[in-house]
């Protein structure tokens, strides 16, 4: 089942690549390099979803105090950081040939970098403060850090910026109908890949909790 899901996700990503390279039209002014957009948006969707789930599982943990919710929160945070890193790397690969610069300090890019640092902070907090106190602190942090997710999404609608606005950005935004299917397929494929990684990370987090419990029980039984 695990292997089957992983293979299906890999097949889906390869299918998305094929569709992007062979079927998606080249953008009129940018040419083929615009196709980075399909992976860039897909990885951003996965990162946003993962960070949203960190907040949801953190809240669930604070309410119900179940270890599985905490394990899911840490798994989502790691997946989110991984995909946010990919967003921050694929973006400059598009920006260099189009803007002539790898990076500019404009609202979308800056708030995304802040988002990345926020969740690196979350992972460092988890390492620094162990035990129940650390878990509760991380859950609170995971909910507060989520505040930056809508800020990143709306950054270029709220403030003037260079980053293109594709969805719901008014008359100058939008996507050609022939680009829509490759985009949706790429998003689904990258979400599936994120799902497979999440399942694997969740299992390791559950194992780590089991070890903690066993060590605790053995400590209690010592004379």
């Amino acid at each position: 089942m695990e292997k089957g899901a992983a293979l299906a996700a890999v097949a889906l990503v390869l299918l998305a690549l094929g569709v992007v390279l062979l079927l998606a039209p080249a953008e009129r002014t940018m040419g083929e390099v615009q196709k980075i957009f399909y992976f860039h948006v897909g990885t951003a969707a996965a990162a946003f979803l993962a960070f949203t789930l960190v907040a949801a599982f953190s809240l669930a943990y604070l309410v119900r105090r179940e270890g599985a919710h905490d394990a899911a929160a840490i798994a989502c945070a790691e997946i989110g950081v991984l995909f946010c890193t990919l967003v921050l790397l694929t973006g400059p690969l598009w920006a260099r040939p189009i803007w002539g610069r790898w990076w500019i300090w404009e609202p979308k890019l800056t708030t995304t970098l802040i988002l990345w640092f926020l969740y690196i902070g979350y992972l460092l907090l988890r390492r620094a403060v162990q035990g129940h106190r650390g878990t509760v602190a991380a859950a609170v942090y995971g909910i507060v850090a989520f505040a930056d997710v809508p800020v990143v999404y709306f950054a270029n609608r709220w403030w003037r910026g260079e980053h293109p606005v594709v969805f719901a950005g008014g008359a100058e935004s939008g996507i050609a109908p022939r680009m829509l299917f490759p985009l949706v397929l790429s998003i689904i494929a990258l979400l599936a890949l994120a799902g497979v990684l999440f399942a694997e990370r969740f299992r390791t987090a559950i194992l780590a909790q089991r070890i903690e419990r066993l060590e605790h029980e053995m400590g209690d039984n010592e004379p």
């Binding site: 390099v33 992976f39 790691e78 991984l82 990919l86 790397l89 690969l93 598009w94 070890i211």
Partner: protein, 54 residues
Amino acid sequence: MNERMIYLFLAFLLVWAGAALYLWRLSSLRADLERRVRRLEGLGRPDAETDHRG
């Protein structure tokens, strides 16, 4: 190859490399944790002393 295609190729390579490296790290972490669980569960059994000698 068109110079701009190199950027596209690099972007796709990064996505694969990122996912593959993470999965590799997770599988080694999981194998290590499973070993530790087996060891701890073995130590916790009432006949663990016999097991270790035998």
